[in-house]
Symmetry: C2
Subunit: 211 residues, 2 copies
């Protein structure tokens, strides 16, 4: 089943978690798993895992559970990461460069194909996959390479403006590291990563006398 209607977004959010755990199991040589085992490992109930997966098809077998390789194939297809997505990074500061050098994208469906920054000193840096271009080349690059995904690693002050340009150029998904809420047209997807928000969520639970 390629795509089903009316799947809750909260379920979609769990599929990459399943995919990640299954990949790890597979790498360790495991060939079958059960909803119970997977749930134990992830802190999710087995009923929830079965229910989530059954929204997309009957991937398991009574008595034996799920064949990991088959489930991996199915999940990658559902999430559309069975083929590689080209991706650009905007901002070649510390964070942008760390992302550009990150080795974990390719095996999971993504490849950085370009980095954009205004600093002339950075233009031309790169590796086999990407190099740093000036911001003035961003829009034509997106068109030419048909890029649909961008990672945003620019300061908060310019993030909205850059986002507007990305959307105009055809970008449909933005992973933003800028700590502000972006305004985008419907149909454009945005996800945010802000480490401080995760930290603040944890300090709530820490005893203050331990600070």
């Amino acid at each position: 089943m390629v795509s089903s209607p009316n799947i809750p977004d909260i379920v979609i959010g769990r599929l990459p978690i399943y995919l990640r755990a299954l990949t790890q199991m597979s790498q360790q040589g495991q060939t079958f798993t059960s909803s119970h085992e997977l749930g134990q490992r992830l802190g999710i109930s087995s009923a929830q895992i079965r229910k989530d997966l059954s929204l997309f098809g009957d991937f398991g077998k009574q008595g034996t559970g799920y064949q990991i390789s088959h489930l991996l194939t199915q999940l990658k297809q559902i999430l559309q990461v069975n083929h590689e997505w080209p991706m650009i990074i905007v901002g070649a500061g510390d964070l942008g460069r760390a992302l550009a050098h990150y080795r974990g994208f390719v095996s999971r469906g993504f490849r950085v194909v370009g980095v954009f920054d205004n600093d002339p000193a950075k233009i031309g840096m790169g590796n086999g996959d990407w190099q740093v271009y000036g911001m003035d080349q961003m829009v034509s690059f997106i068109h030419k390479r048909r890029v649909k995904i961008a990672m945003l690693a620019v300061p908060a002050e310019t993030a909205q403006e850059v986002s507007d340009r990305l959307v105009d150029a055809g970008i449909r998904a933005i992973l933003s590291y800028a700590p502000i809420t972006l305004v985008v047209p419907s149909g454009v997807h945005v996800q945010y990563i802000d480490p401080v928000m995760h930290l603040q969520r944890m300090t709530y639970y820490l005893k203050s006398d331990e600070r």
Copy 2:
């Protein structure tokens, strides 16, 4: 009100979002806001914002809304970021160094005070706040500086082992960038950042003919 019982975790997760937006409003010179305005900005219903905040106290006024400075003070107190938390980073690769150089921690309640790595070539690097130490000094450093929070930027293969050592040394909150689920004792908090999971969540919604 310092701390209330039985607050759902999902509410705690929204408080940093409110805090971030209110900080931005405050920086732009705004002194009052309403649940409606804040909700519009964040894509959250006004009823939910009022309900969330009312779990901790009566911070608003009928007719006029919320005084931003007062609400900021309260939220910082609730999240315990009205004082600064010292933090260490384990792993001085591209990501660890990008985090160590990130300017956004201090103004929001956190300060990097040390970075740990096994590579002798990296030891001694640093700035006014932190320098890179060998892993063999990690445990004593955590004790001496009474550090409770660590950011984990090591490869997936060593993440669990490092996590165990951190917890033994007294770390109570871990922000992990390693793409595996860590096993920690109850009472230790873990949050995960994995950019690929965010990307995969978005590709589900992208039309495949646009790839």
